[in-house]
Amino acid sequence: MASRLVIRDVDAGYGAVRVLHGVSLEVREGETVALLGTNGNGKSTLINCIMGIVRPDAGEITLERDGQRMELIGRAPEEIVHLGITLVPEGRRLFPKLTVEENLLLGAFRDGARRDIPRNLAFCFEAFPVLQSRRKQLAGNMSGGEQQMLAIGRALMAAPTILLVDEPSVGLAPVLVNRVIAKIKELKDRYRLTVLMAEQNFNQATKIADRGYIIVHGQIAFSGATAELREHELVKKYYLGV
């Protein structure tokens, strides 16, 4: 099942504040794409547009699968999850007073996913053994790194074809950032998951990304393969302080 996410000329914002100006971006089957940018440049807004949480004012967001094109704008988040796109939200956003297992089950809320719960739960526990040993624990009582693992596991419970990850490194100790990033890479390598990852930590993101986009003030300033990104002067200016 070949799927591709295409974003074309998207404008979006909140009330009078315009955040995105004509953003175009593409994620192809099996790729890990990094959306890079410092705080306040529109990364999360773009992710939220894809999920149907923020409604763009112009442009199109389409999911292509087996030659079929589906417009995502105007669909509710639950429909978009239904189409196979799930989100690991910024700051994890778990259900802190529910158990690890209940959190995972909520990732499989849609009818289609409920049938596959045993299989997807087994998959999550295989990918994240720590979740299995903690399944009866309250999510809010786990460490930050474990919570991030749970957030990823929860998003995998709907068996997505495209996984959106919004700032997985936020609020984590450097050693945990390494572990989370390594885990995403492992998912991609072992299960051929397609990933779009918004991240401000340039070094971490380029470790695992095939391609990247740099977003500055709501516009894509540069896009290219990871090696090209490292050499680009924008990167030097914004990230490496050269």
Partner: protein, 324 residues
């Protein structure tokens, strides 16, 4: 509890209620028990929106009164039997729940609560000015003097309310253990996250307001025959708002057992106080108990028991750990 066990217990309770009504002849007990059971329905209904979903509703009097007034209208129009009154009251109050859900569910926290409080005030003003149902003066109704099998009509109403209470609890327990309940718990815990994960939040909240409203209307529907005199001041009483909120909080708001415990405990205490001390003392009792619980056991009686059980389990495990 499994579904079959629940149904068995429910059937036993209904039969027991009927047998009691054969033996016990003092009418007061039926009046008191009716009021307590009515609170079981109201507290359970409130808990579906307030406890499971986390939206604190102060509008209980609006739904309760709408159920009661629907019965009044049905009686005046066509002398409708009690069964029709129940269906009508639940349907109209459920519709109000659905409409109010659409209007107010964009509001969160205290703003939602204020909106529901306003709903009760607006609706009361409406009924004060509606002559057909007696306006501010109220309306006297003549109920059947007796019911077949039961004798005195109040005994029959007691049995009806007992069945309604079991029905409400059954609905709440079913919701709690279904995917609806799981989704509602997600909304209570983190609504944005629920939305991100593809939980259809608006639809689930509308289910909650509708079911909760309908059950409150169901509690109000037999009320005109129970008191035989309906006026806005008594059916829109703030008591209903405060009690239906305090009872689940005191009993424990995350399970269907909590509202029953709270309603039986608080309802009984109020009935006893009304007879022995004074009827004006009711709200004070509720207030003091509620404050005590918020401070000492914020998760209610059920939460307290669960916490103690966990601690004991922990102790046992510790003891085992030392032994080995």
């Amino acid at each position: 509890m499994s579904q079959r066990a629940f149904l068995a217990v429910a059937a036993l309770v209904v039969v027991a209620g009927f047998l009691v009504s054969r033996v016990l002849t003092n009418q007061y007990y039926y009046f008191a028990a009716y009021v307590i059971l009515q609170y079981v329905v109201l507290a359970t209904a409130w808990n579906i929106l307030g406890g499971y979903t986390g939206y604190v509703n102060f509008g209980t009097p609006a739904f309760f009164a709408l159920g009661a007034y629907t019965s009044v209208v049905l009686i005046k129009m066509m002398n409708a039997p009690l069964g029709l009154q129940l269906v009508g009251g639940a349907a109209v109050a459920g519709l109000l729940g659905l409409g109010i859900g659409y209007l107010t569910l964009r509001l969160r926290g205290v703003f939602f609560s204020i909106a529901t409080l306003a709903l009760a005030v607006v609706l009361q003003t409406l009924f004060v000015n509606w002559e057909y149902t007696g306006g501010a003066r109220g309306l006297s109704l003549i109920r059947p003097a007796t019911a077949p099998l039961f004798g005195h009509y109040v005994q029959f109403l007691f049995e009806v309310m007992l069945i309604l209470a079991l029905f409400a609890v059954g609905v709440a327990a079913w919701i709690e253990h279904s995917w609806i309940g799981r989704g509602l718990a997600a909304i209570r815990d983190n609504e944005e996250a629920a939305e991100c994960m593809g939980v259809p939040t608006l639809r689930l909240k509308l289910v909650a307001t509708t079911v909760s409203g309908a059950l409150m209307g169901l509690a109000g529907a037999p009320f005109p025959y129970f008191v035989t005199f309906v006026e806005p001041g008594s059916v829109f009483d703030l008591n209903y708002a405060v009690n239906s909120l305090a009872m689940p909080m005191i009993g424990g708001s995350t399970t269907w057992v909590g509202p029953i415990i709270g309603a039986v405990l608080l309802g009984t205490a109020q009935q006893v106080a009304t007879v022995t001390i004074s009827s004006a003392l009711n709200l004070l009792i509720v207030g003091v108990i509620l404050v005590a619980f918020v401070i000492l056991a914020p998760e209610g009686i059920v939460g307290l028991i669960q916490r103690l059980a966990r601690r004991r389990e922990g102790d046992v495990r510790l003891a085992h750990g030392k032994a080995t």
